[in-house]
Assembly symmetry: C2
Homo-oligomer: 139 residues x 2
DNA sequence: ATTAATCCTATCAATTTAATAGGGATTACA
DNA sequence: TGTAATCCCTATTAAATTGATAGGATTAAT
C-alpha cells in the first residue's frame, strides 16, 4: 500500500508544479485544495525540502517551490524520499541493500529472483515518469 | 515492503513444488529447512489451502500438497491471497476497488494515473511468472 | 490407544502510520 | 518597530498492522 504520506506528497508536488506563477505556494493553500491535514502536510513538505526537491521561503508571502523544472523531477527520487526503497525486499534494493537473515544464499532464493523482476519493472515506470507527467491535466 | 507472511508463503510453496515425491509435505519439514517459525507457517499454509492453492491431508503422514501443477500456479493469485491487492491504492485495484475519500474525481488525480502504470507493470511480471519458475534452481 | 499431523482462534508485543500539538524562527510590510 | 503570516522543528499520541506465540481440537495411520 502507498502510504498517505507519499500520496499527499505527490499531490502537493503536482499542485506546486501546476501553480505556474513562480511564487512560493503556501502549505495552507495546498492543504485546503487537496483535502490534506495541514500539520501533516507541513512535515511532508519539510522532508521534501530536506531532500532537495523543494525549496522554501519563510515568513509572510513564504511557501514552497520546486528546485528544478518538473520535467527534471523523477518519480524514482520522489518515491525513495517519501516511501523508502522501491524494492519490496531489502536484499534486492539498489539503494538500501541488506542481507536477509533467513537466506543462506540469496542467489538460490526463489523470492529474490521474483522480486528483482518486480523491482525492475517498477523502476522502469518510475524512471520514465516525471512530475511534469503527473501535472498534465486529465486522462 | 513484502510482508514476512508472503515471503514465507512463497518459500514454502517453492519448497513443496520442488519436493517431487508427490507425498504431502509436513509443515515442520518446511519450517525447519527454510528457517520459518513453525506456528506462523501453519497459519500461512492454512490460508493458502482455504484459497484453493494447497490441499492438505490430516493426521499421521499428513501434510500439504499443491492442488495444481506448479506451472498453473500464477503469482498474481498467490500474491493476492497472501499480500492482498497488487495495486498500491484501492482506487486503482482491479479486484478490490474502492474510491478514495480525498479525491473528488479520480480521473484528474495525478497519483491515480501513476499508480495505474505501476500496477500494470507489476501485473505483467506476476502474470507471467508461475510457481514453476520460482522452483527452478539457481540464477 | 497412541502418536503425529493439520485445524482453529485468540492473544500479544513490537512496529509503523497518520495525525496532532505546541511552540520557535523568520520575513514582509504597515 | 511591531505584528501577522509563514515555515521550522520535535515530541507525542492513537490506531492499525505485523509477526509471532499459545493452547488446544480434530483427524488419521498404525
Amino acid at each position: 500500500m502507498l502510504s498517505k504520506k507519499t500520496k499527499y506528497g505527490l499531490k502537493a508536488l503536482t499542485f506546486i508544479a501546476r501553480s505556474e506563477s513562480g511564487m512560493p505556494v503556501r502549505v495552507g493553500e495546498i492543504a485546503g485544495s487537496e483535502s490534506i491535514p495541514q500539520k501533516f502536510l507541513e512535515t511532508i513538505l519539510l522532508t521534501l525540502r530536506k531532500a532537495g526537491i523543494l525549496g522554501s521561503k519563510k515568513g509572510k508571502h513564504g511557501g514552497y517551490y520546486l528546485r528544478s523544472h518538473p520535467s527534471a523531477v523523477k518519480m524514482t527520487d520522489v518515491m525513495r524520499v517519501l516511501e523508502g526503497p522501491i524494492a519490496m525486499v531489502p536484499c534486492v534494493s539498489l539503494n538500501y541493500y541488506e542481507k536477509c537473515d533467513d537466506c543462506p544464499d540469496e542467489h538460490q532464493c526463489s523470492v529474490h529472483r521474483l522480486m528483482i523482476e518486480v523491482r525492475d519493472s517498477t523502476l522502469k515506470v518510475l524512471r520514465n515518469t516525471t512530475l511534469e507527467d503527473l501535472a498534465l491535466k486529465d486522462s
